[in-house]
């Protein structure tokens, strides 16, 4: 009995939500464009490298999160979708971090050619 009485209220609430979503999407798109412009300006600023890198990382992360939570609807969907996607995302990010740590270490630097082929060895072979 109460279900038919509550049913008419749901469409108007849903309609208002869909209307507000339209303007949310447009505003977020404008924000993403502005952030992209900021990233472009950042690379030309005369600051230390680690600071520029941090700013770029933060701006990219902000863009990333806006797209996945608003454009991809994670904000309005069940949390299971968020968990599912973040499993892959965290695994990818962790793998990337681990690889960069390994190959960024001093021991991973390529040896200079003179160490691989010392002049004395080259002369002997010749």
């Amino acid at each position: 009995m109460s279900a038919p009485a509550s049913a008419p209220a749901a469409p108007s609430h849903g309609h208002e939500l869909e209307q507000s979503k339209f303007w949310i999407y447009v505003q977020i798109a404008m924000l993403l464009a502005v952030i992209t412009g900021l990233e472009l300006v950042t690379v030309y600023l005369p600051f230390v490298r680690w600071l520029l890198f941090s700013v770029l990382a933060v701006l990219s992360t902000v863009k990333f999160m806006f797209v996945i939570f608003y454009f991809m609807h994670l904000r309005w969907d069940r949390v299971f979708c968020t968990i599912l996607f973040f499993i892959g995302l965290v695994l990818a990010a962790a793998t990337m971090w681990a690889l960069l740590k390994i190959f960024g270490a001093d021991a991973s630097k390529p040896l200079p050619m003179t160490m691989l082929f010392p002049p004395a060895l080259v002369l002997r072979i010749a």
Binding site: A10, G14, K21, T36, R49, F53, V67, W76, F80
Partner: protein, 206 residues
Amino acid sequence: MSSDAAAAPIDHHFDPTTTTGIPNKKVLMWAFLASDCMFFGCLISTHLIYRLHPPPGTLPAKQVFSIELTSFSTFILLMSSLMMALAVNAIQKGNLKSMRWSLLTTIFFGCIFLGCQVYEFRNFVFEKHLTITNSILGSTFFTLTGTHGLHVLVGVIWLSGMLLYSFTGRLTERQAIDVESMGLYWHFVDIVWIVIFTAVYLLEYI
């Protein structure tokens, strides 16, 4: 009772027939995107690793890249993502005409992005002499951005198919999940480009 069921608004975020409450197509797409995250993570990692210690004589990436063109294509892809979100929003309200226009605009922007990529690749190969085989930078760059470009191409083809399907009369608000799943794929392509733009292009300039 049947008229009440027919008039009841469709909740596009809840499916009572599944155990998770989420439409199966949506779960499938999210699982696929999670796996694709790992795929692109590996490609991006490979590129960054080889940029840590470039071999002597490697062409400086700053001399090769055109940041203006890449920024423009990034903007275009972001706008295509907006249009895709509006297309999904339209079909969830049962507005087929608006969905078609939004899809068409998404396809248009997607094609512009692909055109920019093709122009960029041709410029790198023929003007800057950077190919997929003549340097490590070329190998990692073209593999990564080429794979992304293929994803965009598949997305454009999928969008075009959905646009044509919308004219058959079989695409209604009840099938909005199909458009939403496609939208998830397109937005994923966009977020991968957000990462590539920063990690591959912008980092070369700092």
